[in-house]
């Protein structure tokens, strides 16, 4: 790791080789993906810190990373949960926007009559935002668990519907207005760390506990690993899927609250690029898109990695388009390396059978 701190680009290559080696060693461990992500975060951070320390290591830049990560991270965690069951949730960003629009409209409506009352009702407004998320998730859950529609199609449909409602509601315009308390939370810090980031960590820990320590988490994992086996083990698939999409919807609602806390505006097409970005993050964080394996820690680290690369590119004066290239290359490289390593394992007899 010491090599990375030096500015010589050759040393960077060296560090990468080093990381590959460490990665190979860590294949033996169970939590391989989380460790690899940890390494990737450190390497990404070190590279940009070495290349442009004056801008990248400035307080404002670090603050920006910490403020922009939470909303993406919460949606990515929700995506991870959906993928854990073997599904996917494309409607998350639309749910988050719908929730933010509802909150903003509600605040503006109340404030038009009585500004003080609107401020006092701040907890209620946030609660309504979360309920919107929950309802959005409930619709997804019903479609997936009751009607048996494939998650990717069900959420593709609801994505269009939620987004359509949001566009029709706002008329395609940006809404202004949010409780001052929410905005001040968005700008406040706890011991130097932005409150939004603290909230993100809290959400991540809670979801982590649900996945690893509760019966529901176990059922969700089993459902994703092998739906047939789960059914024969007496797991109620419908209930599990319903709970999963309720949870992802609520996380979408939380993301909506974060949207509004960061900027006191709401619009139907905010974060349009997030839909595919969070899939990238979830997969990068070690989530198996076919279900059965995921770690919240890995997803949090993947979120940070992409935000670090994003802000690092900005610090180096590279464009958003170059960041888009980097994002794609990172995703495909990680997937290819994973696949090659998986095939090299002697245990994986299936790989040998398939690869001819």
């Amino acid at each position: 790791m010491n090599a990375v701190q030096e500015k010589n680009p050759l040393k960077r290559v060296n560090a990468e080789v080093d990381s590959r080696w460490t990665g190979l060693v860590e294949r033996l461990h169970v939590d391989r993906s989380a460790r690899r992500m940890l390494l990737l975060v450190v390497v990404a951070f070190a590279i940009f810190a070495a290349l442009k320390p004056s801008v990248f290591l400035s307080g404002i830049n670090l603050q920006n990373i910490a403020i922009s990560s939470p909303e993406i991270g919460v949606i990515a965690i929700a995506m991870m949960l959906a993928m854990l069951t073997g599904g996917i949730d494309l409607s998350l960003v639309s749910i988050a926007n719908l929730s933010a629009i509802t909150m903003s409209t509600m605040f503006t409506a109340i404030a038009a009559n009585n500004p003080d009352q609107a401020e006092q009702l701040f907890p209620l407004i946030v609660l309504v935002g979360l309920v919107v998320g929950l309802l959005g998730g409930a619709v997804n859950g019903l479609l997936v668990s009751r009607l048996g529609i494939t998650p990717i199609l069900a959420t593709l449909g609801t994505m269009q519907i939620y987004n359509g409602i949001a566009v029709a509601w706002t008329g395609g315009k940006t809404l202004y207005g949010s409780p001052a308390a929410l905005t001040s939370i968005g700008q406040s810090t706890v011991g130097g760390v932005p409150t939004l980031f603290v909230l993100f960590v809290v959400v991540a820990v809670l979801v982590g506990i649900i996945v690893k320590r509760t019966p529901l988490g176990l059922k969700v994992t089993l459902q994703g690993a092998n739906p047939t086996a789960a059914r024969y083990s007496g797991i109620n698939s419908r209930a599990v899927l319903m709970s999963t999409y309720l949870l992802t919807g609520t996380l979408g609602g939380i993301a909506g609250v974060l949207f509004l806390a960061r900027n006191p505006t709401a619009s139907a097409d905010y974060g349009a690029s997030y839909v595919l970005l969070v899939i990238v993050i979830a997969v990068l964080g070690g989530t198996n898109p076919n279900g059965g394996f995921a770690t919240v820690f890995g997803v949090v680290l993947a979120t940070l990695t992409l935000q670090i690369v994003s802000s690092g590119f900005t610090a180096l004066r590279l464009s958003a388009f170059q960041y888009s290239i980097a994002q794609g290359v990172i995703l495909i490289a990680v997937m290819v390396i994973d696949q090659v390593q998986w095939r090299r394992r002697p245990r994986a007899r299936r790989a040998a059978a398939v690869s001819s």
Binding site: Q160, I165, L276
Partner: protein
């Protein structure tokens, strides 16, 4: 009596088609008749031609997506390939370096599209990666490379080799409701549709795609070269995307590298609506054509019915859910549920 009834049932089943194409055609017909009664403006030649015109580009994209979906994958990079191939061609022609006429322009776009498709195909077939993830990655790469290294400028006028087609119409009719134009670019769309229908039904390559989508391992054991077929499949899909991109820019009479990308899911929705199974192995050109037209007709009807265009997205979403919802429920009833359930493991 009973024989006659079962004969009728058999005929009805055949009319319904293997992927519910009959049902789709019926819905389309009911919609058109209903709209025509509600609003006489709808049932006119200008409307028909404008719907056909607006369906050209989505149809070409949808046919490419259909190929990928039949093979058991999902492609979200086709729009990026389309805009990459078409914009690069316009840039090269605009710089005056090469001018080989319209045919040359299309050939150049085809080569670019085919190469980008080959990248997808190589990654998917060689490393057996999930198609959604790979195309998600390549989408970002293609778009980024285009905007960083080729150009990010909006080009307001196309090179002369291409621009003359922009205003060429195949049919021009003057009716009492106004003049109706049918753009000449419907010709490549129709030709492509017919060729693809023939390839999928009658050629070894087409049948291999179905076989791979049904069960890749079974297809391999049956002697189909899975890797080679998949790579060619993505090359062809890349080429089709390039044609779609070229036609889009010719009909729009301008070239912008920021367009098209972002509308991928709408196209996928139309293909799924057309009866293609997201699990692979099922789908037809006819169904896809009907699916694309259904979406276009609904969009057009909503405008005529005075519904704000903002609701179009929601309407397509509802349509998609109703369509797949019916499919899912009937599949469960007819005992295919087990099959569908098992297939869920290999999705995405």
């Amino acid at each position: 009596m009973s024989a006659g009834r079962s004969g009728l049932a058999e005929r009805l089943r055949r009319l319904r088609g293997p992927n519910n194409e009959g049902v789709l055609a019926l819905i389309l017909l009911v919609l058109i008749v209903g709209m025509s009664i509600a609003n006489p403006v709808f049932f006119t030649l200008p409307t028909a031609f404008s719907i056909m015109r607006s369906a050209i580009v989505p149809l070409i994209f949808a046919l490419g997506v259909l190929l990928v979906i039949i093979s058991g994958g999902i492609d979200v990079s086709f729009a990026a390939i389309a805009v990459f191939a078409a914009y690069t061609t316009v840039r090269v022609y605009g710089s005056g370096a090469i001018d080989l006429g319209l045919i040359g322009a299309f050939a150049m776009a085809l080569v670019i599209g085919g190469m980008l498709g080959a990248i997808n195909g190589f990654l998917i077939a060689r490393f057996r990666l999930p198609t959604l993830i790979v195309t998600l990655g390549t989408q970002g790469i293609f778009k980024g490379v285009l905007l960083t290294y080729v150009g990010s400028r909006y080009i307001a006028d196309l090179p002369s080799a291409m621009s003359w087609v922009s205003t060429t119409n195949l049919i021009e009719v003057t009716t009492d409701t106004g003049r109706a134009y049918l753009h000449v670019m419907v010709v490549p769309a129709i030709v492509l549709t017919l060729v693809l229908a023939w390839v999928l039904r009658r050629t070894m390559f087409g049948r291999s795609i179905y076989a791979i989508g049904g069960d890749a391992e079974a297809a391999r054991r049956a002697g189909i070269r899975v890797v080679r077929t998949q790579v060619w499949l993505y090359v062809i899909v890349g080429m089709m995307a390039a044609i779609g991109g070229m036609i889009y820019m010719i009909m729009g009479r301008s070239a912008s590298p920021q367009e098209l990308v972002g509308g991928e899911l709408d196209i996928i929705a139309a293909v799924v609506l057309g009866g293609a199974s997201i699990f692979g192995g099922r789908g037809s050109v006819l169904g896809t054509v009907l699916g694309v037209f259904l979406v276009q007709v609904i969009n057009n009807s909503l405008i005529l019915a005075g519904v704000p265009s903002a609701w179009q997205r929601a309407a397509v979403g509802v349509l998609l859910l109703v369509g797949v919802g019916i499919q899912a429920v009937t599949a469960r009833g007819s005992g295919r549920a087990a099959l569908v359930h098992d297939a869920q493991e290999v999705t995405v």
